[in-house]
Symmetry: C2
Amino acid sequence: MTDRVSLFEVSMRDGLQNEPIVVPTADKIAHLHRLLAAGLTDIEVTSFVRADRIPALADAADVVAALPTDTGARFWALVPNPVGLDRAFSSGIRHICTFLSSSETHNAKNVNRTVRESVADLRRVMGTALDEGMSVRAYVSTVFGCPYEGYVAPEKVRDLVLTMLDVGAQEVALGDTTGIGTPGQVTALVKLLVDSGAPIERLALHTHDTHGMAAANVYAAFNAGIRRFDGSVAGIGGCPYAPGAAGNAATEDLVYLFRGLGVETGVDLDRLAIAGHEMARLLGRELPGRVHRATLGAAVPARKSA
Amino acid sequence: MTDRVSLFEVSMRDGLQNEPIVVPTADKIAHLHRLLAAGLTDIEVTSFVRADRIPALADAADVVAALPTDTGARFWALVPNPVGLDRAFSSGIRHICTFLSSSETHNAKNVNRTVRESVADLRRVMGTALDEGMSVRAYVSTVFGCPYEGYVAPEKVRDLVLTMLDVGAQEVALGDTTGIGTPGQVTALVKLLVDSGAPIERLALHTHDTHGMAAANVYAAFNAGIRRFDGSVAGIGGCPYAPGAAGNAATEDLVYLFRGLGVETGVDLDRLAIAGHEMARLLGRELPGRVHRATLGAAVPARKSA
């Protein structure tokens, strides 16, 4: 009985959105092909946000136009609002991601809305998308705490997750947006959600490694029954203006973790490492992923002693 | 019922031993005082190895001579052989650490001995130390795999651990020397050891974050009953010649993990962070610890979106 998880790759969106340099569309597409070659089958490729807000993703329509067909993979785009949805729909992409935050302050800073207003907006956006036959993923952010407010009540997270599922999200990603969470919180939140009726196969965990907890949190979530995890090649996705701060959970690290646990991911780690090394070259900086760095330095002499 | 773990701090030995620069003795002692101020009570302060082999620790006797008294803390020194033990004893230190590897190739490269020869050596070294009233900790290295040989049989690890306990080590640290292990291995090895009669309170876990697994492995070990963990401030201790490679489990990350789990460590994270920031200044390079880096960049703006 081989257990299996599936990975949702966010390097092209969450990874690139805060990078100070704009990666050319052709290089993004080359990266996408490396992700596909490694075996990834769910890839968030861009975001239909205002180009002046996130210049790194201003080529969203061009990226979608250049997507390969007949790969068997699903390509996703983030949409923040009805305008973004229109642009996404026009581009031809069929899978969209929406988002809102569990924290009022974070939500206000992110989209200038109360959480209640965001829920109302997402009902309209998701309803329209579903009517058009698109599939929808919803991120619920700051589920383990907010960088501004601190504590976030798990019951508030639960209510938002259940609402998103009810509105028709095929999947809700529990977003530890700033990597605040620890494994006990993960276990407790997953239990609360399942006890509240959320189907576990429609939950995913989106982690950041800001405090070194990504693998531990993924491991706790796996033990609690989650089988769907977000990763970003080489761990890109942290705010690059924070010197040395870690970003998203590195996809390589997740593949390494599950390989060690004897859990199938369908991803070839050697090929994935190549995607990370090329990304470091494209961005022209050191990237934080641990396995990424270990594979860069694999030929060095062993260290001494215990 | 508050659970509690204790931390064993290795930044002054495992952390500094491979650094290309030699930290002056006075700066080491200042670092030690910061560790004590943070609440650490078991600190490996140096190693009595040949000065030409590890110049960074050539001041071992000077470090021991400068140790504060009446702190309530225990200070430890690594000794590789009878010569090292003599030097340690002369220095006045009362707690020593010995080491051997579960892998023949790693042991040969590290101490130019077969594992069997190392066991015989350690019996003599540990016997002498115990006769002198010293306490002894034993590292058993490469317990989850060897960078040269790959697979290491858990039964071989078990036999070495039981031997070290039998010889009189008050504690055996299970060393994942190159950060190869994953949580399933941790759980299985701890179970094997306990089932074989090893008292769990005499086992510790020594991890490296090479592949981003340190916190996950510590979490798994905690769930398996281990209550003693090695850490190194700011995660120093990787081979600094490997560009970007991570080092030991960062003590800050372990404190963060356990604080999140509601488990007492006795360590003040804010004060510990200061020790890491000062260490980065001493070494003049970016250090890999995640919480270390997050606390360095704490004042940066939040990032956008999910």
